[in-house]
Structure formats: C-alpha cells, structure tokens
C-alpha cells in the first residue's frame, strides 16, 4: 500500500541502521533499536560470578506487568518456588495503562476462527499461525479466569460481557472495563500475586541473563536500584516478561508507554544469541495527545473511534476511514501533517483533530462520560473538555509488534529460557490489532508459567560452578571486531533520562 510505504515510520529509510552483529545481522532496524542490541554490557570485564548466588529458585520471572504476574500466579500453582523481579513496582507496566480492552470472540456472529482471520489480515499475513491459533482458542478460558478473580468487565443488559468494535476487525469483539481496563486488571492481579507464594523483588531490573550447562539459561543478574548492588539469581527456568520499547523514543516520537519501557529483554536475549522476529516493526498508535504539550504522547483509546469519533484536518475535511488498522490511520495523519494540512500547536508541532463530540451527538449526551471517564478526567485536568471541542492528536509510539522468537510453549532457542508478552514476537505479525496484546499476556503468560514449572521439575541438578557470563564475553568480542573504533552505548538503559542537560 502506497500510504504505508510512503508515511509509516517502519517503512521509511530515515533513522534506520543495519545490524552488524548477532543473530539478526543484516536486518534493518530503527537506530535506537540497533543501539540497544549492539551495545556494551553494564557489567565490566572480567565478568565473574560470586561463589554463591544470592537466590536459588525454581523459576525466575523478569518483569512485573501483566505477563509476568500471570506467569508467576500459574507457576506458583504448580508448587514451584518463584521469584519475580521487576524494575519498578509490581504492576508498573504498559498493561496498567491499557485503556481499550481485550479482544476475544464471544459474539453470536463471531468465532475464534474469524478472530484468527482478522488478526492475520491486520498483521499483514506476517503472524505466526501456530501462536495465533493458541491465542484465539485459549482466549475465552483466560477471560473466564479473569472474571473468576473478580475483574469487573462492562456487561450488556443480558448480563453478558459487552462487546465493542476495534479497528481492523470484522466483528465487535472487545471486552473492557470502561477505559480503565488495564488498571482494573492490574489492581486485582497485583493483589493476587502479592498474596501468592511468590517472592517479589521490586526496583530490581535484570541486566544480564546467566548461561548454564550446554548453552542453557541458568538465571539472571539483577541490579538493585536503591543499594546499587548486583543480585545474582540461580534458576532452573527463567521467564522474560520485560515488555516493550516506547521509552526509547524511536525517531523522536512521543510514547504512550510507562517509564521503564526500554526493551531490556531484547538486549539480554540478543546477547544470548536468540533470534528476534520483526525487530523493525513498531506500532505507532494513531491518536496520541499533541496539545497541551505536557500531555504529549498520552493515548486516546481507539475505542473512541469504534464509538463514532471522527478525525479532521486543518481544512475541516475527513481524510481516512477512522476504523482502518492502526498503521493505516497513523500513516494518514502523518501524511496530512507532512503535506501542510495539519493543525499547528504553539510549540510548532502539528496534529489533526479527533472529534469526540460526534459520539455524544450520535449515541446521546453523556455517552463519552459513561464510556470514557478516564480520558475525560485526564483532559479536563488540563482544561480541555473533549465533549465540547476536538482533541489535537498525532501518532505516538505504542507497541513493539515484533520481539524475541518463541514457539507455542513460549520457549526460545535457548533451553530453559521462556518469553511472554510484549517482549516476544511473531504473534502480531507487523501490525497488532487492538485488544490482542492484553489477551496475549494472559494466554501466553499462563503457558509460560506452566511450561517453566514443567522444565524446572525435569531439569537435572546443575552446579553454580557451571554458570557463567561467557555469552556476554563472546558478544563483546563480536562487537569489538565489528565496531573497531566506535564507542558503543551501554544497555539495558533501564530508564530514559529526561533531566535537563547541565542541570
């Protein structure tokens, strides 16, 4: 499609680099992704392990968002010892910010098969069919689990789960909790994981994986953000659930992601030689707030377009079908602004109008307030009333479509290392449909937790003396020969640095 190839950031030549090192050598990826993949370890050479690990567990889970929490809950149910380590607090993640909903085929006119087709079409046919088949068929069971934990999804008059329409889908299929879906999920599941037999280490992001016998994974090195010490964990199985990359601000885009979304999992897995799938593919959500500038990047859920919100350029003309897939709508907005039909902000940036007034006009006064209370609350704090005036929007970096290659059991090419959630790749192809990522967290989070427990049970005992950081040394040697003179950045970067230069 010309619109995509001319305007969508994934397909544009600017801001890209060709990888020179590692399993995806030769792939063209955003410069910021190349920087974190072809990067130096935070651990200086010589990289030795202490005589004894600080923790010795069956299952180590890295990341405390939706996928990590789900994996921990199901792994703990299997009776294995579980340690969950996360960068900020448990629940601080992209999951908690999800507004729109979970896509799951519950309608009379719908089925898991139609869900499969819509997702494959939306993903440009680049999706892994085996992952997709698992997603659509196990989705309803995971929703059953969520309902049984007391999560309050919106109901229809018959008491069924209300189904709403998302972009790029042929049937209404989104279940939601007003526009607080992620918050409702995390509030509940965080309480469950805190009450489960799971040891939790907060403010302790992973900075390296540890390799074990025969190229397996044997644990991870964590970094305690408060004591600034390293914590060494020996584990029989490791689950990476480290999430996405928004805070790397690819091509300078604002982001809807949480503060810790710096793709640490990609960095660590890549050093271990695990292939990435579609590392070039990112989702720029069409409608990030552009003005007022202190809110830049904040998401206005796609569900508003499903409910009838329309978009206009500076000339007051509609320029795209608002219910197209996200990449098409985002490209159309970028085109309008690039060709001078955008609306200028006082900061000199531009955007287009997203008009929610149409929702109340079509569906009755008060609809916006009832269905999107969070958006209304957030915007009104900044003196913008979306029921009276349109919001100024521009695409915002929202989701990492690709990621670490996994199979249907969430296994990677390294034994005893599993991946779930946004850090994994293949399921969404090169464009994710709304609501499929929340579903993915639960479907593959559960699979990862159970598989990690199975692997841990069956793993022969191994000695800490067989654990090492040799894969990191090897990767650094490759870096040295590929970049003989250039300094390379250090990663995982953990956080963006927004402090004023020289402050």
């Amino acid at each position: 499609m010309r619109l995509l190839s001319s305007y969508y950031p994934d397909y544009r030549p600017d801001g890209k680099a060709t990888l020179k090192v590692g399993t995806n050598k030769g792939a063209v990826v955003p410069q910021e992704i190349a920087d974190i993949l072809e990067s130096r370890s935070r651990l200086p050479a010589p990289r030795t392990l202490p005589d004894h690990p600080d923790h010795d567990v069956d299952i180590l889970i890295l990341g405390g968002g939706g996928a990590g929490i789900t994996a921990a809950l199901f792994a703990a149910k299997e009776g294995r010892s579980v340690l969950l380590a996360t960068k900020l607090r448990v629940g601080d993640s992209n999951t908690v910010m999800a507004e729109g909903g979970i896509q799951t085929a519950l309608g009379e006119e719908d089925s898991p098969v139609i869900h499969f087709r819509d997702t494959f079409r939306g993903g440009h046919g680049a999706n892994d069919p085996s992952l997709l088949s698992v997603l659509v068929s196990e989705g309803p069971e995971m929703v059953e689990w969520l309902v049984s934990r007391g999560i309050l999804f919106d109901r229809d008059p018959q008491g069924g789960l209300s189904l709403r329409k998302g972009g790029g889908t042929s049937r209404p299929r989104l279940i939601s909790a007003k526009d607080y879906t992620g918050l409702e999920l995390i509030r509940v599941l965080k309480e469950d994981v805190v009450n489960a037999p799971v040891e939790i280490l907060e403010f302790s992001p992973a900075i390296e994986l540890i390799s074990g016998p025969e190229g397996s994974c044997a644990g991870a090195v964590l970094y305690d953000l408060d004591s600034r010490r390293h914590i060494y964990v020996k584990a029989k199985s490791v689950i990476l659930a480290t999430g996405g990359a928004g805070r790397l601000h690819l091509s300078g885009f604002a982001t809807s992601n949480h503060f810790g979304a710096t793709a640490d999992g990609l960095t660590m897995a890549y050093r271990m030689g695990i292939p990435l799938v579609h590392p070039e593919s990112f989702q720029f959500h069409p409608t990030g707030v552009m003005f007022p500038s202190e809110m830049a990047g904040m998401l206005i859920t796609e569900a508003v377009r499903g409910a009838g919100a329309r978009m206009y350029n500076r000339l007051g003309k509609r320029f795209v079908n608002e219910l197209e897939t996200r990449d098409v709508v985002a490209s159309a907005i970028i085109r309008e602004c690039a060709e001078g039909r955008g609306v200028k902000t006082p900061q000199g940036t531009s955007g287009v109008y997203l008009d929610l007034v149409a929702i109340d006009r079509d569906s009755g006064e008060g609809t916006v307030e009832k269905r999107f209370p969070n958006i209304l609350k957030l915007m009104k704090r900044h003196h913008v009333d979306p029921t009276k005036r349109p919001i100024l929007v521009y695409p915002t970096l929202h989701y990492q479509n690709g990621g670490i290659r996994i199979d249907a059991q969430t296994r990677t090419s390294v034994s005893h290392l599993l991946v779930a959630g946004e850090a994994s790749g293949g399921l969404h192809g090169t464009n994710r449909l709304m609501g499929n990522s929340l579903l993915e967290l639960f479907v593959f989070g559960r699979r990862a937790g159970i598989e990690a427990a199975n692997l841990a049970t069956n793993r022969p005992a191994f000695s800490w003396r067989d654990a090492s950081l040799a894969h990191v040394d090897r990767f650094e040697e490759e870096l040295n020969s590929a970049f003989s003179t250039e300094e390379r950045p250090m990663a995982p970067v953990l956080f963006p640095d927004y402090r004023r230069q020289g402050s």
């Binding site: 079409r121 209370p373 402090r499």
Partner: protein
C-alpha cells in the same frame, strides 16, 4: 518539557523537597523535578495518571491548606512547595477471592477497622480522582458492594486516602476487596462467555483452526484476504 516557555522565559518559583528552584511554567511536578536534575525512580510509573505511583503533598505560598495530587498530572504554579510520597505504608488483607463464602461478613474479618470510620470526610477531600471515598467505606460496611464498585472504579490505588484517615484504615484496599467480591461472588457468570466456552470445550472450532494452521503462507494470506 515545554521548550517554548523555556525560550520565552515564563518561569515559576517552586520548592521541591524544601529547596527552591525556578522552573518553566506549564511543567508538571515530575517534569519540574527532571528540569532541576532530580533522578526520579521511586514515584514514577506510567506517567499517564493511572498507576498511582506519584502521590504528592503540596502547599501554595500564602495558603495554610495542605493539598495532595498526582505529580505526573499536576502543573506547577508560583509559590508551590511539594514533596512526593513515594510509598505510604498500608496493611493489606491476605485472602483468596475464590475462597470467600460470606464476603459481606468477611469484610469485618479482613478489615475490621472499616467499621470505625468517623465520617470526617478527609479521604474524599484528598482523593486526586474525585472519588467519594467516605461514602464507599460506608457502602462497603453496609454490604452494598455494587455501589462501592460504581463509586470507586477510577481508583488508582495511590493511597493518599490512607494518609489522611483518622481511623487509620486503607479505604482503597477495602474498596478493592468489595469490588472483587462483587465481581466474583455476586454478579452472574456472563452467558455469552459460558456459551462460547461450551463450544470450545466440545471442539467446535478445532477443525477450522487446524485447517488454517496447515495452509501454506500464500494460501493463508489468500484465505484471510491479506492486502498486498
């Protein structure tokens, strides 16, 4: 950061953790901390007003009143003095929602202090989400968990209500308990979900999905009408 205001020099005087700074007008409290070189880790989460990490206490010069806010959502103003409350200690019940048999009575087992509300309304006044917290505590005590769910659905669990409660309870945890009990124990199971689960368990879709999985990539693209 609002570069325009920095250029035009519209600055405001603020005090962060007791130290005075000048920061650009139009900054949020968190942005003001970054501007002045603070490394903020505890106290930052989503930066989008939903994770509840950035509970903050502040005063405005010349006004005796103590106010609270979420730092990522609140703009600084002249003479503002603020400190973040990174974490407020709370006592949380240890329970499994599936194991509740009489949730309305068990509320007093897990949160006996909820019955000691003295109606001062400080929790409601402090809530950055505008929730009628006091009412939600009473509704929970009376067993009207549906009302608690409706009143507290926007709760971001920041814990500012705890910081002001003279009965020293944690209203946001009590509300979480009530919402969960309502969802898991009172609401009927959704019939459309039940119907779909029955179909899945009897293998209704297995054949079609297996067939899709067995197609070659090109056949699958054609079948799913993938646009080129």
């Amino acid at each position: 950061m609002d570069s325009q205001n920095e250029e035009t020099g519209a600055m405001v005087r603020v005090s962060i953790n007791g130290r005075e700074y000048s920061v650009p007008q139009g900054s949020t409290m968190v942005q003001a901390m970054w501007y002045t070189g603070h490394e903020v880790i505890h106290g930052v989460g989503c930066l989008g007003g939903v994770c509840g990490a950035c509970a903050t206490v502040y005063r405005i010069e010349g006004d005796f009143r103590l106010r609270n806010a979420l730092a990522c959502q609140t703009l600084v103003s002249e003479g503002m003095s603020f400190s973040m409350l990174d974490s407020y200690p709370i006592q949380r019940a240890h329970y499994d929602v599936a194991g509740l048999t009489d949730p309305k009575e068990e509320l007093f087992t897990y949160y006996p202090e909820s019955a000691t509300c003295r109606n001062c309304n400080a929790c409601t006044e402090v809530c950055p989400q505008g929730i009628d917290v006091r009412d939600s505590v009473w509704r929970a005590n009376f067993g009207d968990f549906k009302a608690v769910a409706d009143l507290t659905f926007s709760c971001v669990m920041c814990g500012l209500c705890v910081s002001r409660c003279i009965a020293e309870m944690a209203p946001h945890e009590i509300a979480l308990y009530a919402r969960r009990a309502y969802g898991a124990k009172e609401l009927p199971f959704p019939p459309n979900l039940r119907h779909r689960l029955d179909q899945i368990h009897s293998g209704t879709f297995e054949g079609d999905l297996k067939r899709l999985e067995s197609l070659t990539p090109d056949e699958l693209k054609k079948e799913c009408e993938v646009r080129s």
